[in-house]
């Protein structure tokens, strides 16, 4: 009997304690939730990201997904805001000369690199010199400086950038992380800057603490930081003590890592996994803007079957892009009408609903072009040659189910018009070789500049990224693009940019596919997730803070 009684008493005691404890916890949770509208300083957050940067040097990297890591330690002269205007950052103010060739910047005098070196005009010049001296490896950044003539160091806080011809893409380029600043000491040390780690010193809100290849990169707060860009909420040092970026190349692995709590945020949530986090208890799901570029097939119109405009138009119209995009991305992204992102101010809105999915016409075009025979697998042939065009997609840039999309299109084109769109995942080196000799056929990509003239110049301009080595580019479009770059920002420029986009689509030099957006999921206790306007990607971790875990 005694035993029985003791047992019951213990049980009741335990139950009561448990109940009160949980009630107390709930109260604690509620009060913390109510209390934390103000950012909390301290703690470490871990990201799970899909791409491990092959290079951490802002001047040499060309991977879009490396930039939001690099932004943690690299600042720029000016900051681009979501409405397309520019705000001061490391430069306090600036003026542009009447002829548009000289940009005069007054720099802040209280900025220093995290190794103690002061940030001044000399540092600006050192970075530009570095980019131009090593243009073989810094080609992505060097291409932004094509019109650059020289820099004048007027005083430690004033610097003039002088151009050969007026270039209205200049401010946009200067807001890019690619023209951000590393410490002159780092640059002159002549070590391999792609390797990352503490040797890579910038002025940013974090310092690059460590990099474990294949695993993660870690950044620690820079306590002296107080020169934040205008698009950030925070003004002083970062909230977090440390932030860790873990490299998880597979989408399902990232999803699993966040849902089991191993990481606090992930970027690159695949469409089938959005339901795990969107409107789910304990998680938040955010989508970024599509203001830079759409994922586009760039067709080399100077070579092979694609030199015939009928073939290109047939390719463009030979499949139902709407259905394919909706099916692969489950309605989470918009199909594209132009290679410029639909959220961009200079997007050619009149292109909407103007092309695509005209299979019968596509077949007629191919018949007219002479591709009338068929081989045993159903592909069209002419003079014994199969109608085959290769899409060369470099492995380091493959992400976001884009290869799945191309395969679906490949299948549709085969079925609908008998065209063999042959997808080949190449190495970065292969593609560099093809580009250098002008031998690429179709190059699928999104591009980073959010300035439309810059983007068009990169993809279609005669001295841009793709057509640099090709002699026979179309003078109509390249002429217009060069002109647009020189025009000052305004309605005339916008109209010309719209005309160029329309021409490019009409000639099927490009087949825009979809407007990608970054999909970020995080635990609900994480706050301050934002997307950098110039990149469309998640911003760096400067504004991030987290309510401390209650459990």
């Amino acid at each position: 009997m005694n035993f029985r009684l003791t047992a019951w008493l213990t049980l009741t005691a335990m139950a009561t304690t448990a109940f009160t404890l949980s009630a107390c916890q709930k109260d604690a949770a509620i009060s913390t939730a109510q209390a934390t509208t103000a950012p909390v300083s301290g703690g470490t957050l871990t990201w799970g990201v899909g791409t491990e940067p092959t290079c951490f040097d802002p001047h040499s990297s060309s991977q879009q997904n490396s930039f939001f890591l690099i932004r943690n330690y690299v600042d720029s002269l000016v900051a681009k805001l979501a409405d397309g205007s520019f705000a001061p950052w490391l430069a306090k103010s600036w003026s542009i000369s009447e002829d548009g060739k000289t940009y005069d910047f007054v720099l802040r005098d209280d900025v220093s690199f995290s190794d103690g070196t002061p940030f001044n005009a000399e540092a600006v010049k050192a970075n530009f010199d570095y980019i131009l001296k090593n243009s073989a490896v810094t080609s992505a950044s060097a291409s932004l400086l094509v019109q650059y003539d020289h820099i004048e160091v007027v005083s430690p806080t004033e610097v003039k950038i002088v151009l050969k011809t007026p270039d209205s893409t200049t401010l946009e380029s200067l807001s890019s992380v690619k023209l951000g600043f590393l410490s002159p000491k780092t640059l002159s040390d002549n070590k391999d800057l792609c390797a990352g780690g503490p040797a890579l010193v910038g002025t940013g809100p974090f310092t690059f603490t460590s990099y474990q290849r294949g695993q993660e990169a870690t950044f620690s707060r820079n306590p002296n930081y107080h020169w934040a860009p205008a698009f950030a909420q925070n003004k002083g040092p970062a909230y977090l003590d440390k932030v860790v970026y873990r490299f998880l190349p597979e989408a399902s692995v990232r999803t699993g890592a966040l849902s089991s709590g191993q990481v606090d945020l992930i970027e690159g949530v695949q469409p089938t996994d959005i339901g795990v986090f969107d409107k789910a208890e304990g998680f938040q799901y955010l989508t970024g803007p599509s203001a830079t570029t759409s994922f586009t097939l760039n067709i080399n119109y100077t070579t092979g079957p694609a030199a015939d405009v009928r073939v290109r138009r047939a390719l463009r119209d030979g499949f139902d892009l709407d259905a394919i995009v909706k099916s692969v991305y489950l309605g989470t992204v918009r199909r594209a009408w132009s290679n410029i992102g639909p959220d961009n101010a200079d997007y050619a809105t009149h292109l909407k609903d103007s092309w695509g999915n005209k299979v019968e016409q596509a077949n007629q075009l191919l018949d007219q072009a002479g591709w009338t025979q068929r081989d045993s697998e159903g592909f069209r042939t002419k003079d014994g040659q199969r109608l085959s065009i290769e899409v060369g997609y470099p492995q380091p840039y493959v992400r976001d189910s884009r290869d799945v999309l191309i395969r679906a299109i490949q299948s549709a084109l085969r079925q609908n018009i008998g065209l063999d769109l042959h997808l080949h995942i190449t190495t970065a080196g292969d593609f560099a070789n093809q580009k250098a000799t002008g031998n690429w056929t179709i190059y699928p990509n999104t591009d980073n500049p959010s300035d439309v003239a810059m983007e068009l110049w990169d993809m279609l301009g005669d001295r841009g990224f793709l057509y640099n080595a090709i002699a026979k580019s179309d003078p109509v479009i390249t002429g217009d693009i060069n002109k647009a770059r020189q025009l000052k920002a305004g309605p005339e420029r916008r109209e010309l940019l719209g005309k160029i986009q329309q021409y490019a689509v009409d000639q099927a030099y490009i087949v825009p596919l979809f407007a990608p957006a970054y999909h970020v999921a995080a635990k609900s206790r994480v706050h301050g997730v934002y997307f950098e306007p110039q990149l469309d990607s998640p911003g760096n971790s400067y504004d991030l803070w987290a309510t401390p875990a209650t459990q």
Partner: protein, 298 residues
């Protein structure tokens, strides 16, 4: 050192401890085939049809994607469901049979031919041939098969032919050792000595006695080895080193199915099931053959 090992795992697998020894069975009795063997033969028959005339078994095109039917679960319309871009999984499994089976077969042939040549040369030759050949087999089996194949692929590049070569090279010791020991056995056998005494030329001894007895052991090993080869080859394809998408090779299909595992089990279960059932069927047949028809030295 490894030459002192008892029989390798694969041939040990062939022992089934339930069948009574042959001399106990009444002679002339017509035994029914065990159920397992019948099932195995049936499955392999279906596979063979899939290999040669897959369109008899499915009306779908394995490469055609129907974007209105993505990730459909198995139904009357699509018996194995559809994958991420709307391709019929059953069609892909059937059309994919040829890749795994033929590449597996090719690698076994590579192992067989090279193993045969080295094994016989070793068995017949003098000391200076015999010992090094045994060492060659030791070296090859010192590398785990997967790693050796990876090594070969690094040099030769990715692709169907190269993984067949890689897996083939890794499988040489299996054949080579048996061939070598059989050769040695036969060479020392009485009837060979008698044959030589009776004046048969060496070439005739080789053709009439040695070769048949050595080759006798091969088919059973080869059959069982095909199973291992198929798993190895589809494993390398799974890692991305073999045929590239959209080829419906089973390993490639498994790799493609990983991202949607959370919402769809059928793109991964059926190709893997195909591999497993193929290997089981071949093993069962191989064991049966070995039990009842394995050639003994005459």
């Amino acid at each position: 050192m490894t030459t002192s090992q008892p029989a390798l795992p694969d041939s040990i697998l062939s022992h089934d401890t339930q069948v009574p020894p042959a001399d106990v069975r009444p002679a002339r009795q017509r035994r029914r085939w065990p159920l397992g063997v019948i099932l195995a033969l049936l499955f392999l028959a279906v596979l063979a049809i899939g290999l040669v005339v897959p369109h008899w078994l499915t009306r779908y095109d394995p490469l055609l994607s129907d974007v209105s039917q993505t990730l459909q679960p198995p139904s009357l319309q699509h018996l194995f469901g559809t994958d991420r871009i709307g391709r019929d999984v059953l069609a892909r499994v059937l059309y994919g049979a040829r890749y795994s089976l033929l590449i597996g077969l090719a690698s076994v042939i590579v192992s067989l031919v090279i193993g045969l040549v080295i094994g016989i040369a070793a068995g017949l030759g003098q000391r200076y041939l015999n010992e090094p050949a045994a060492r060659v087999f030791d070296v090859l089996s010192a590398f785990p098969a997967v790693l050796l194949s990876l090594f070969v692929v690094t040099f030769l590049g990715q692709g169907i032919v190269n993984i067949a070569i890689g897996v083939g090279i890794a499988g040489i010791p299996k054949f080579g050792r048996i061939v070598r020991s059989r050769t040695l056995q036969v060479r020392r056998a009485n009837y060979v000595t008698h044959a030589v005494t009776f004046g048969l030329s060496r070439w005739q001894v080789f053709l009439r006695h040695l070769l048949p007895n050595v080759l006798n052991a091969i088919p059973v090993i080869a059959t069982i080895d095909i199973g291992t080869a198929i798993i190895a080859v589809s494993g390398l394809s799974f890692l991305g080193l073999g045929p590239q998408p959209p080829t419906p090779e089973w390993g490639v299909m498994l790799a493609e199915s990983r991202d949607v595992l959370r919402v769809a089990w059928w793109p991964s279960v059926f190709p893997g099931l195909a591999i497993t059932l193929t290997v089981i069927s071949i093993s069962v047949l191989g064991k049966y053959w070995q039990r009842n028809f394995e050639g003994r030295p005459q």
